[in-house]
Symmetry: C2
Subunit: 231 residues, 2 copies
């Protein structure tokens, strides 16, 4: 057995264990009517600023909270906390993704049982997070206009394991000669029919549509719980 | 032993094997007087465009070649080949970094023994590539002005394992309100005294200084070989 093969085998075992924990988390969230939305992207695609805007807006209508993963520093938690929502940093050390167990540990004794929408900002990475289910209902993959239109072709797995694609920093689109049609064609070629949003968290353009999507998913999460309560 | 511990142990064995191959590669490059320069960064920080400009310029004076790693597609090799230099794509599948063995395999029966400067563009990732020595003499870590000034604080290892930092897309600095002093302070706090270049591959600004650095390193590589020949 080569070392590479052994590494793959151990990885598969870790993944299997992760899926067990993720399933338990998801069941717990469903039972409580909590919507969980996670964000994945390359470092620097604007996840934190985007999430800060979402938290600030949604906190007016909902009890929201956020977990944020990084290898080091709690800079992002400090930025997100400006929204007024409870925020907790998970520092992963050398690990390039969040795992379900890290989410479970972070939640223990932290947020109140009455939270309605929990956001999870993953470590900035277009490879590692794709294999780890965190028990979320909705996974957003972000790419910024500055990254190049062919990112989905180069990192197909992260787009295949997400539910919705969000193109960020649209305010810079003209400056970097971003070709929207090419970017959308790239996404569609790895994930035909994927829902795509184009937003600028800076100007607010396109953010309303995304907020509506989250609101409607939250309504579904609530109705799921109502049914469970009756049963 | 936890699964995480086991994973770490297997990883260490793989790394050890990588270091053996990297050492052999480095010795081979030194003996031949070849300078090897590698590039690491987040996806979308402009590595490929930056390298295309360097290859185009240096090909006028030197026999240059490039290896480029990506999970999927040979888009980057096609872009780099516009420089006229020999270019080979390494597709890594699900692996988020290049390894020394991939470099060795790619070189076998490929570039002529008379190549003078070999560039290696790693997979876009701020975590995985940091642990893998590829036998290079000079490792450049790139970060673009659009990524946020605190990237070095969040990804200290990739800055610690590189030799030189390059801040790219300086032509966008004003549009994204990039704070150069904060970015440099971030780099300095994880790697005091690190050499930092600020460039725009698009306008060419700052590129001359970098080309000079590579030229002077190439001269050193050549003189090393001359000494070896005499010995």
């Amino acid at each position: 057995m080569t070392q590479q093969t052994r590494l793959v085998e151990v990885r598969q075992k870790v993944l299997k264990q992760n899926d067990v924990v993720a399933r338990e988390l998801r069941q717990g969230f469903h039972d409580a009517g909590v919507l969980v939305v996670s964000l994945v992207s390359s470092p620097g695609s604007g996840k934190t600023y985007f999430l800060e805007r979402i938290l600030t807006d949604m906190a007016k209508r909902h009890r929201v909270a956020a977990l944020v993963g990084d290898l080091a520093t709690d800079n992002d938690a400090a930025r997100l906390a400006r929204s007024g929502a409870p925020v907790k940093q998970i520092t992963t050390g050398t690990v390039c993704h969040l795992e379900a167990e890290m989410v479970r540990s972070a939640l223990t004794d932290w947020i109140k049982p009455d939270v309605e929408i929990l956001f999870i900002e993953n470590v900035g990475n277009l490879v590692c997070p794709s294999s780890y289910d965190l028990g979320e209902d909705l996974r957003l993959v972000l790419m910024s206009v500055t990254e190049g239109e062919d990112k989905p072709l180069k990192y197909p797995t992260i787009f295949n394991t997400a539910d919705v694609a969000v193109i960020t920093k649209m305010d810079l689109a003209a400056a970097v000669e971003f070709d929207s049609n090419t970017a959308k064609a790239s996404i569609n070629s790895v994930r035909p029919g994927m829902t795509i949003f184009e937003v600028s968290a800076k100007t607010g353009k396109g953010m309303d549509d995304l907020l509506q999507l989250i609101e409607s998913r939250y309504a579904s999460a609530q109705s799921r719980r109502s049914v469970a309560d009756v049963e």
